[in-house]
């Protein structure tokens, strides 16, 4: 996983709530068997409209997505995170994220930042009036900064440490091999098995 420390970039204001993962990446894209090449599928249906915010010339090259509440609801597809990253987004800001999407994002180094809707409104106002305005998401200081706006955000220390260091969950877990083996040894015999090995 790529480490995330701090990022500064222009933003895309997405004034929609309940942006579900079927909108972020439609199901027919899920037939791919790789983690890349999803950028053209990102918000595919909405991008057919030339006026959709992602299509505006002033939003090209933007790396910060500022979205409405309940972003990433629905399907567990991690492809939604890959699509956002493949397109070039480094971080997503919203008042509320769906749990599975949030977990997926943090495991891939896409920092999802929870801010009050009031701050999201202020960020929307700023980047809509000045598309060249930049937003800084600073994970070291746990702070979002933009012209006239400074807002602290919460992220549990463990997730933050993994993100700052770009750590791979599986290797961390395997350091606890003894604990896993000890647990396995005491599992009751009535627990289900899919096959005899």
């Amino acid at each position: 996983m790529e480490a995330f420390t701090t990022h500064t970039g222009r933003a895309v204001p997405l004034r929609r709530s309940n942006v579900d993962t079927d909108q972020i990446i439609p199901a027919h894209w899920l037939k791919k068997v790789t983690r890349d090449g999803f950028e053209d599928g990102l918000f595919e249906a909405w991008r057919k409209d030339p006026e959709f915010v992602l299509n505006r010339p002033e939003r090209q090259g933007a790396t910060v997505l500022v979205a409405g509440p309940d972003f990433g609801t629905g399907s567990s597809r991690e492809h939604a995170v890959w699509a956002l990253q493949n397109y070039g987004f480094k971080t997503v800001i919203s008042a509320r994220f769906a749990d599975i999407f949030r977990g997926n994002s943090l495991k891939n180094g896409l920092l999802t930042v929870v801010l009050d809707q009031k701050v999201v409104d202020a960020l929307w106002g700023l980047v809509e009036s000045d598309p060249s305005a930049e937003i800084t998401v600073d994970l070291v200081a746990r702070e979002v900064r933009a012209e006239g706006i400074t807002a602290a955000f919460e992220l549990d220390e463990n997730s933050r440490w993994r993100l700052l260091n770009g750590l791979d969950d599986i290797s961390i877990t395997l350091q606890n091999e003894e604990d896993i083996a000890a647990y396995e040894a005491k599992r009751p015999s009535f627990k289900p098995r899919t096959l005899q090995v």
Binding site: N18, Q23, K31, I100, G103, N104, I170, S189, P192, L195
Partner: protein, 476 residues
């Protein structure tokens, strides 16, 4: 202080607990399908890792599989490649697989319970958000992403933050004609698509205790549509009776030991939930969605709401966008909405009781002119059972299409899709824009409402069928 059901199951699976870290949980059952696993197997190969517990892992094919001509090669080369990838991965790593054409193939959340693999007090994960279905057995069941799929394959554990708990207490008697699907749609409309966020929901109360296992699965299945981490129902005699004799249920002394443990899996009287919602079953009626998220629903007897009636600005905007996408007018009675397609199936409502309920309504009647009705069993076994009861004949005589098992029209990944602008009454779980095909419009309904809608051509409940031509539907 006492503990809730979710806390008991959680505590029984903690492999390692350390201050400031998520708990490391042991996973009892890992279900795989073709869509969310290829990149995980790829990750294992790249890091030279294997599957730690093949005996706790099982795979099937469901999302991409066609429901017609299953003996012929799959027409879409990309779907075919994804299924072939799963077959190769399972062969390479030694994972048990039930591919298309196998008698145990089907939607992953129908297959696990019917094999008896889903048991009370287990932890179940799958790279699919509707894994919450398995909570109906008193299992703690989470939908996970592909990185977590790889993590479970490699370690049989997952680091997870302890969730909060919410009681959804449903007391009283569901009125005649009101089903588990109506209940869960009403719950989601009440608490919202984000209302369950961070929580494991426990459905309890006298109305829940009276439900069959299949109805309980319908309820838990849609927990994710309320944003919940999982949904659970305490196991009881209904659960034990469902499990006994299934291929992977414990036997002999193991059965006795299991039941003794399962009986401890109830929320203690003095346990405290972090939140509680109380619902009066008697107030419920058939419930349908009008919008583009599962929280945008209303009783069938109501009208399409006026976006101006929402105080919250983002809800108002969402309602405006939903009506525009759905091609509906504020104030229009829901019963006046005409449909092109009716879909009965999915991990929400593709089990035998669902098919029986729909068949009881269309028996001796005809699907309305211009309406296409698809009936898709949730698994090959459910399909065989339905055929043995003659339900396939009932559906075909009514003019419906009887298909092979799979996810089918629940999501646009296989040939069963809506065309742009087409409208469906669907027993599936998501009414998102384009979910059933680009530009398709979805109304979520129960199997009973789906069947009545197919006959009348507009959203309707069985009570709207006033013709004397058909026998009175049983069990509705």
């Amino acid at each position: 202080m006492g503990r809730t059901l979710a806390e008991k199951v959680w505590d029984d699976h903690v492999v390692r607990r350390a201050e400031g870290e998520p708990d490391l949980l042991f996973i009892d059952l890992h279900l795989l399908h073709e869509v969310t696993s290829p990149q995980a197997f790829d990750g294992l190969r790249k890091s030279g890792r294997g599957v730690r517990r093949l005996d706790l892992t099982i795979a099937t094919e469901d999302h991409n599989t066609p429901t017609l001509d299953i003996d012929k090669p799959i027409a879409d080369p990309v779907s075919r490649a994804q299924l072939e990838t799963l077959r190769k991965n399972c062969a390479d790593f030694g994972v048990r697989l039930h591919p298309l054409g196998d008698v145990e193939q089907g939607v992953v959340h129908v297959v696990g319970p019917q094999l008896g693999l889903t048991q009370p007090g287990t932890t179940v994960v799958c790279g699919d958000s509707h894994t919450s279905t398995h909570g109906a057995f008193g299992a703690l069941a989470f939908g996970i992403g592909t990185s977590q799929v790889e993590h479970v394959l490699a370690t049989q554990t997952l680091p997870m933050a302890r969730p909060k708990t919410m009681a959804i207490t449903v007391e009283g008697e569901l009125p005649e004609g009101v089903t588990a699907k109506d209940l869960i749609l009403a719950i989601i409309a009440r608490i919202g698509t984000g209302g369950g966020q961070g929580y494991v929901l426990e459905y309890r109360g006298s109305a829940i205790e009276k439900l069959s296992m299949e109805a309980r699965m319908t309820i838990c299945n849609m927990s994710i549509e309320a944003g919940a981490r999982a949904g659970m129902i305490a196991p009881d005699e209904t659960t034990f009776a469902y499990l006994q004799g299934r291929p992977h249920a414990p036997e002999g002394e193991d059965w006795d030991a299991a039941v003794a443990y399962w009986k401890t899996l109830r929320t203690d009287d003095d346990a405290v939930f972090d939140a509680e919602v109380v619902i009066d079953a008697a107030e419920l009626s058939p419930f349908v969605t009008w919008g583009t998220n599962p929280g945008q629903g209303a009783p069938l007897s109501a009208a399409v709401p006026d976006p101006a009636s929402y105080e919250d600005a983002s809800e108002r905007l969402a309602a405006e966008k939903a009506l525009e996408y759905m091609g509906l007018d504020a104030g229009q009675p829901l019963r006046s909405i005409k449909v092109d397609t009716v879909f009965v199936g999915s991990c929400t409502n593709g089990r035998i009781e669902d098919l029986r309920a729909a068949a009881d309504i269309v028996r001796g009647r005809k699907v309305a002119d211009g309406v296409r009705m698809l009936v898709v069993p949730g698994s090959a076994r459910v399909g065989l059972q339905a055929v043995s009861e003659g339900l396939d004949v009932v559906f075909k005589e009514a003019g419906a299409e009887w298909r092979h098992a799979g996810c089918s029209m629940c999501l646009g990944m296989n040939p069963d899709q809506l065309a742009p602008g087409e409208r469906s009454a669907s027993t599936s779980n998501r009414n998102f824009e384009g979910r059933q095909g680009k530009g398709g419009r979805t109304h979520l309904v129960s199997p009973q409402v789906a069947a009545a809608t197919a006959v009348l051509g507009h959203l309707a409940s069985p009570a709207d069928l006033t013709d004397a031509a058909a026998p009175t539907p049983a069990g509705v």
